[in-house]
C-alpha cells in the first residue's frame, strides 16, 4: 500500500532560525501517527507547511501521490486534508452551528444541517449550538475545531493539540471521534503533549526536537530512546 502522506526533506526557517529542518516521513492509510516534542520543536510549523499556511523553503509534500507542496491551502482542504489549529481558529462571530455549517460550505452543503446535528450530539455541544463561537470555553473551542474536522468528512486529518484543556470525559469523546473516523479509513497525524493519550491511540510516534525528527517508532521504543529523554528532560544522551 502506498503512503497517504509523504514528506521529503521539508524545511523552513524564520529570520535565520530553522523552525523545520529537513523533515521526512510517511504516513500510511488509516494510520494514526503521533508527533511529540518540546515547545518550539517545530511541530505546529510542520502542520502549517503541510497545509500551505507557510510555504516551505525546500522539500516536498505528497498527498495521495500528488505533489501539494505549493498548492493553496483551500485546494489541499478540498483534496481531503483537514486540520485543527493550535490556537483555536474559530469563526468567532458565528454561532457554533454556523461554524459547523461553514466547514461543509465547500463540501456536502445539503447534508450539512443533519450532519451538524450529529456532530453536536457527538461532541456534547448541542446545548451551546446557538451560542457565538467566541463565547465558548477553551475546551469547547477545541471540541468545535474537532467538530469542523468531522464536518469536512476528511480522508487525512491533522490534529494540533486538540485535547489540550478539554475535560477528561470529553477527551474520551474526542478519542471516540478519532476512532470513528479511522474506521472509515481516515489517516491521522496528531500533535499531542499528553503522552497517555498518544499511547492510547497512536500506532506510531514521531519525536521532534529543534526542527528535526530525533526518533520514530512505537510508544515503547521512543519512551526508551535516549534522544527523547534528552529532548524532554534536558538529560544528555549517553
Amino acid at each position: 500500500m502506498s503512503a497517504v502522506l509523504e514528506v521529503t526533506d521539508l524545511g523552513r526557517s524564520f529570520g535565520g532560525i530553522a523552525a523545520v529542518d529537513g523533515v521526512s516521513f510517511e504516513v500510511q492509510q488509516a494510520e494514526i501517527v503521533g508527533i511529540i516534542g518540546p515547545n518550539g520543536s517545530g511541530k505546529s510549523t510542520l502542520f502549517n507547511l503541510l497545509t500551505s499556511v507557510h510555504k516551505p523553503d525546500r522539500g516536498q509534500v505528497r498527498l495521495f501521490g500528488q505533489d501539494i507542496t505549493r498548492t493553496p491551502s483551500h485546494k489541499i482542504a478540498r483534496a481531503g486534508l483537514s486540520r485543527t489549529f493550535q490556537l483555536p481558529a474559530l469563526f468567532v462571530n458565528m454561532t457554533v452551528r454556523q461554524n459547523l455549517w461553514t466547514a461543509a460550505v465547500e463540501g456536502d452543503w445539503r447534508g450539512a444541517p443533519e450532519l451538524a446535528n450529529e456532530v453536536l450530539e457527538l461532541l456534547d455541544l448541542a446545548h451551546v449550538s446557538d451560542e457565538l463561537a467566541g463565547s465558548l470555553s477553551g475546551g469547547q473551542q477545541r471540541l468545535l475545531e474537532m467538530g469542523r474536522v468531522l464536518m469536512q468528512q476528511p480522508r487525512v486529518v491533522l490534529l494540533d493539540e486538540v485535547a489540550a484543556g478539554v475535560h477528561p470525559r470529553l477527551r474520551q469523546t474526542i478519542l471516540g471521534a478519532i476512532r470513528e473516523l479511522r474506521s472509515r479509513d481516515a489517516t491521522f497525524l496528531i500533535i499531542e503533549h499528553d503522552l497517555e493519550l498518544t499511547q492510547d491511540i497512536c500506532d506510531r510516534m514521531i519525536v521532534m526536537d529543534a526542527g528535526k525528527i530525533v526518533a520514530e517508532g512505537s510508544f515503547e521504543e521512543i519512551t526508551h530512546d535516549p534522544h527523547v529523554m534528552e529532548a524532554y528532560l534536558g538529560v544528555p544522551a549517553e
Binding site: F85, L90, S135, R148
Partner: protein, 374 residues
C-alpha cells in the same frame, strides 16, 4: 451579520430553509430578551412583515401625498442608504475598511454621463449595465492586489485608488476635465425617486440573499472572522474577498449613474469628492457596523442633518468638520453605533468581537508569519 439574531433563532431548521424573515427594516423586534426568543419568534416575524409592508406602502405612495421637497429628500435617503449598504458589505461583512468607495460612485456617474452625451446618445437604462461592468472590472483589477493587504494598507490603497480616479477625470478630456459634464434633462422628480428607491431596494434584497441566505455569505463571514481557518475549510479566500469587493463596488456604480442623471451636471468635485466617503463611513458607524438596517438608519439621519446644515449655513464645510467630530465621538463612546443603544448586549458583543478580530488581522498582517506579531 445583519440578522445573525434571526438566523440563530431559526438555526435548527438548517441552511436550505434559513431566513424566512425579511431584511429587517423592522428587526427591532428582535430586541426581545434571549429567554423569550423561541416564543416570540413567529410573532416577531409577523411584526417584521407588517413593518416591512407598511414601509413599502409608505415608500411607494410617497409621491401621492408628499411635497416635492420631501420627495427629493427621500430620493437622497434612498441613494445614501444604498451607498451605505455597499460600504457595509466590504467593511461589516468582509472586514475590510475601504476609503475609496467614492471611486465606484464616480465611475458609475461618469459612465452614464459620457454615454448619454449627444455624440453617443445612449438611453439612460442602457448605461447602467455598462457602469456595472466597468466598476466590476475595476474592482477586480484593483481589489486583486489590494485585498492581499491588511487593515490600514488596504484602507489607504483604496483611498489612493479613488484619488487617482479623481485626478484622472480632472485631467482627461473625454471626462470633461474639471469642468465636468452636463447630461440631458431627465424626467420629473417622481421618476428619479422611484428609480432610486427600486435600485436601493434591489441592492438590499440582493445583498440579503447573497450574504444571509446563501453559501456565499458563510464564505465571506468565515474569511472575515479567520482567514487561515476559512482556507482550511476549503474556502478560496482570495476569490471570496474579490467577489465581496465586486458586490460592494457595483452598487455605488448603479446609484452613481442614477444620481448623475438626476442632478444632470457632474464634475470631479461633485461625484468624486472625498466627502462622499466621509459620509459613508459616518453613516455606517453611526448606524452600526455590520448591521443590515443600521446603515440605512444612519444614512437617513445623516442626510437630513446635512440638508439642514446646507439650508442653515449655505455651505457644507462646517458640516465636514461636524462629520469628523461625530466619527470621533461614535468611536470613543458608541463603537457599535446607535442601534446598539436599543440593541441587545449580544449584538454589541458581536460587533466588538468582529472589530477585535480585525485588530488581530492587522497585527498578524504587520508581522506575517512571526506567529503573533507584537
Amino acid at each position: 451579520m445583519s440578522s445573525d439574531d434571526s438566523v440563530r433563532k431559526r438555526a435548527k431548521r438548517g441552511p436550505e430553509r434559513r431566513g424566512a424573515a425579511t431584511t429587517s427594516m423592522s428587526s427591532a423586534t428582535t430586541t426581545t430578551k434571549t429567554a423569550e426568543a423561541p416564543t416570540t419568534g413567529p410573532r416577531g416575524r409577523t411584526i417584521r412583515m407588517a413593518g416591512l409592508i407598511a414601509f413599502a406602502v409608505i415608500a411607494l405612495t410617497l409621491p401621492l401625498w408628499s411635497t416635492p421637497y420631501w420627495i427629493r429628500i427621500a430620493t437622497g435617503v434612498a441613494l445614501w442608504a444604498g451607498l451605505a449598504l455597499s460600504w457595509n458589505v466590504i467593511c461589516g461583512y468582509a472586514g475590510y475598511i475601504s476609503f475609496g468607495h467614492v471611486g465606484f460612485f464616480g465611475i458609475g456617474a461618469y459612465t452614464t454621463a459620457i454615454l448619454m452625451q449627444p455624440d453617443h446618445g445612449w438611453p439612460f437604462f442602457a448605461t447602467l449595465p455598462v457602469g456595472i461592468v466597468i466598476a466590476a472590472v475595476f474592482a477586480v483589477i484593483t481589489g486583486w492586489p489590494a485585498l492581499r493587504l491588511k487593515g490600514a494598507y488596504f484602507a489607504i490603497a483604496t483611498w489612493a485608488i479613488a484619488e487617482a480616479v479623481r485626478e484622472f477625470t480632472t485631467v482627461a478630456d473625454w471626462t470633461g476635465g474639471a469642468g465636468g459634464l452636463t447630461l440631458p434633462i431627465g424626467p420629473g422628480s417622481n421618476y428619479f425617486y422611484y428609480v432610486m428607491l427600486i435600485a436601493a431596494a434591489i441592492a438590499y434584497v440582493l445583498c440579503y440573499a447573497l450574504l444571509e441566505r446563501s453559501r456565499f455569505g458563510y464564505r465571506v463571514k468565515a474569511v472575515r472572522d479567520n482567514e487561515p481557518a476559512a482556507r482550511a475549510q476549503g474556502i478560496d479566500a482570495t476569490k471570496v474577498k474579490i467577489q465581496a469587493y465586486v458586490l460592494s463596488a457595483v452598487i455605488p456604480a448603479v446609484l452613481g449613474g442614477i444620481n448623475a442623471y438626476w442632478i444632470t451636471f457632474i464634475n470631479p468635485q461633485s461625484v468624486l469628492n472625498t466627502i462622499i466617503t466621509d459620509q459613508l463611513v459616518v453613516m455606517v458607524l453611526v448606524g452600526g457596523l455590520g448591521h443590515a438596517w443600521g446603515p440605512a438608519f444612519g444614512a437617513a439621519v445623516l442626510f437630513l442633518v446635512n440638508e439642514q446644515f446646507l439650508s442653515s449655513f449655505g455651505s457644507s464645510t462646517s458640516y465636514i468638520a461636524m462629520v469628523g467630530v461625530i466619527v470621533m465621538l461614535v468611536v470613543l463612546f458608541l463603537p457599535d453605533g446607535v442601534v446598539s443603544i436599543w440593541g441587545r448586549s449580544r449584538r454589541t458583543r458581536l460587533v466588538r468581537q468582529l472589530l477585535g478580530r480585525a485588530a488581530d488581522d492587522f497585527r498578524s498582517g504587520n508581522a506575517a508569519g512571526s506567529g503573533g506579531g507584537r
